[in-house]
Each structure stands twice: as C-alpha cells, then as structure tokens.
Symmetry: C2
Subunit: 201 residues, 2 copies
DNA sequence: CAGGATCCAATTGTGGATCCGG
DNA sequence: CCGGATCCACAATTGGATCCTG
C-alpha cells in the first residue's frame, strides 16, 4: 500500500518498458507475481488454497474506478459453465481481493497502490449477480445470442472480447442453424465496483 | 389523460402556432388554463385554496423525464426566502400535481397527456431537499455565491436563469464588496422526478 | 486462446444559456 | 422581471473493439 509500481517492478526484476499506453494487463500480472499468486492461464483462482481471486483495479484520484472489471470468458460449449451454481462467474466472485492502483500519472512507475479490499458478496449482491447471469445465459441457451449486449445486467454485463470483433465462434440460433458470433466475457460495471471499494475497506 | 395537446388547445380556443421548437413554457400555461389554475405571476400556488402546485413534465416513451424541473427563483434580497421554513421552495414542494406529457412527437398537437401524479414529499425527501437548500443558501449568505453551481445538491440544484447569462444582480462577496452576478433558480434533478413519477402513480 | 485488462468513438447526461407571455 | 419551462454544447459514461503475455 502506497508502494509505487516502479518500485515493485524493480524489486521483482520485472521489465515493462516506458510506454504510457499499451500496458493494458501488465500491472495485473505484475501484482500477481508480487503477491505470490499462482498465475498461469488454466488456474481457476489466483490463490488456489484460499479460493481467492486477485483483481487489480485502476482508480482516479478520488479512489473511483473509471472502467469495468473483467471477470471471465463466457464459455458457450460447456453445460456446467452455463449453470449458475457451477459457473466460473460464481466461483471467481466468491472471494475477491481487489487491489486498487492509480490510473494516473502517465509515467506508470509513479503510480501507487491505493488500497486493498477483501470482498465476499452479501445476499443482495449474490441475488443481483445471479439474476444478471441467468438473464444473459438464458439468451444464449435459447438461441438468441445476438440479442445479448452490454446494456443487459444491473451489475454484471457481457461484452465482446475478440481482436477486430471477429466472429470466430459457431453457435445455434433460435432455429438451430449455426451462426458465427464473437467471443464474449463477463464484466462488473464501474458503479458496482465503486460501491465495493467504498464499503469493504 | 390520453388527451392530445392539440385537442386541449382547440377546446380552450388557445393558439400556439405550428413551431415544433420555441414552445418552451407554453404547454405549462395551457394546462394551467385547462385545469382551472389561478395563473398570474405573483401567486404562490396554482390552486391557492388547496396549496397545490401544478407542474407539467415532459417524458420520453418510457415515461421518464429528460430534463430537470424548475421550482422557483432564488431570491437573494428577502431574508425570509433564505430560511428553509419560510422559503418558496418548501411552500411550493409541499403538495405538487405532476402532469406528465409526451416530449415527442415534433408535431406538438399529437403529444398526449401521459399521467397525473400527486406528490407530497416523505420524511426522507424533505430531509434531502432541506439539506440541498441549506447548502446552497449557506454559500449565498456567507458571500460565496460564485462557488454556487449546478453540481451542488443531490436532488435540488441551483442554476442560472437569465438571458445571455447577464449579471444583472448585485450581491456582497465574502469581503462585503458588491459584485455583479447572474439571477438563478432552483431545479429538481431528473433522477429525482423520475423516482417520483414511478412511486406516486 | 484464455487471462490480464484498457482504449476510444459514440451515446447519454447535464450545466449554463435561452425563449415566450403577461 | 417573473413564472412557464426547453435548448444545446460540452462533459461524463460506456458499449464494443483492442492489446499483450504465457
């Protein structure tokens, strides 16, 4: 907390380069290393023994996130992934450690870690998340995936996640005809993460 | 309810002209006549015997107001007007009859009256309104009127109300020097009137 | 390709300016 | 000038697109 990203990178011997932009997911990976998380793509949790997910979340000077937070990919091929109880969304959001980091300044080395927020959804949050999840997945399983867009969902939304918006996925539409569609992911809306960062120290 | 503005204007023998724009406050006046309100500038209430204020509020196709709602002028010269208990804001908002009207279509004659909503603020609404009022008036009475802008106020805000933004009013600043400033009015934010229209039939 | 996220053009929201009638 | 409100340019938000690493 209060440590600069440059300092952390130095201590780890990590290299990031000077670019102010195109750094995208690099800080997330950096902090995973810094905190000794498992890393690696397939792992369900960053800290498998604890079942805890680590999220790096950039905030403005008032501690507020400007952007939505990625949760996981929407997997269309696995039946389990489309059922709330066994879904990846539910597993990942059960226990989350949010580490908030400055979105500014341009020189990323001077950005400071602003806070650490351990969150477990309360009953109300679970209900809203579940409703959002089931609304989105409902469209998929009834073949109406083209009606699925980022306007749905109070707190959890679904957005495209593919280079050039390329439709690289085949799914059946309402008539059972296979159509090409774009890969998508689940995201938490900024208004929701703002409230989490405020309410959970 | 469900009556068109053209129909109402015809029944009253009122003339409004064909313009789609520059009609601004004309419908408010039209509906005051239609409902037999007192009219005339000085009157505190539209229905003096009932102490009820009439507000015409344009809504989109989902019944939601796009604009803020004018309450009254911020009078800087009257001590009574600057005290919540005796203020015009409090008097006017005690009992309000909102008449919602289509904001569309371009031909105003086809716009329909969408609903009638009788509102008296509950305890929570009163507390918020009072806090917003006292924050704004506090700036005025301590000579910091130039710090007063439309960003203040959860539900009740203060905005300029003058042709060409002309500073035609003299008020003392923090040092007691008279400075020119713009006339202002109190307005209800759209998020607040949206909730009122939903909760009060 | 999945996981780490941010970028940015387009849409939405709204603060300050403006319009009309009496 | 006051009461009836709306207009609209610019700020804030965000949906869809994109970028990098292992």
């Amino acid at each position: 907390m209060g440590h600069g990203l440059g300092e952390i990178a130095l201590a780890l011997g990590a290299t990031i380069g000077d670019h102010t932009t195109h750094t995208k997911g690099k800080f997330g990976v950096l902090l995973e290393h810094a905190l000794g998380a498992a890393g690696g793509s397939g792992a369900v949790h960053d800290f498998p023994e604890l079942g805890v997910e680590l999220k790096t979340i950039p905030v403005d000077t008032r501690g507020k996130p400007a952007e939505s937070t990625y949760v996981c990919t929407l997997h269309l091929l696995s039946a389990e992934a489309l059922v709330w109880e066994t879904s990846w969304v539910k597993q990942k959001l059960s226990r989350v450690l949010f580490v908030s980091v400055d979105a500014e300044p341009a020189d990323w080395r001077e950005r400071l870690v602003r806070g650490v927020h351990y969150w477990e959804p309360d009953a109300e949050a679970w209900a809203t998340l579940r409703a959002d999840f089931e609304e989105a997945v409902g469209l998929v399983t009834t073949g109406r995936i083209e009606a699925l867009n980022a306007r749905l969902g109070q707190v959890l939304q679904v957005r495209p996640k593919a280079k050039d918006g390329k439709k690289t996925l085949l799914v059946p539409d309402a008539e059972g005809t296979l159509i090409a569609t774009v890969p998508r992911g689940f995201y938490l809306r900024p208004a929701f993460t703002t409230e989490i960062l405020q309410r959970y120290r």
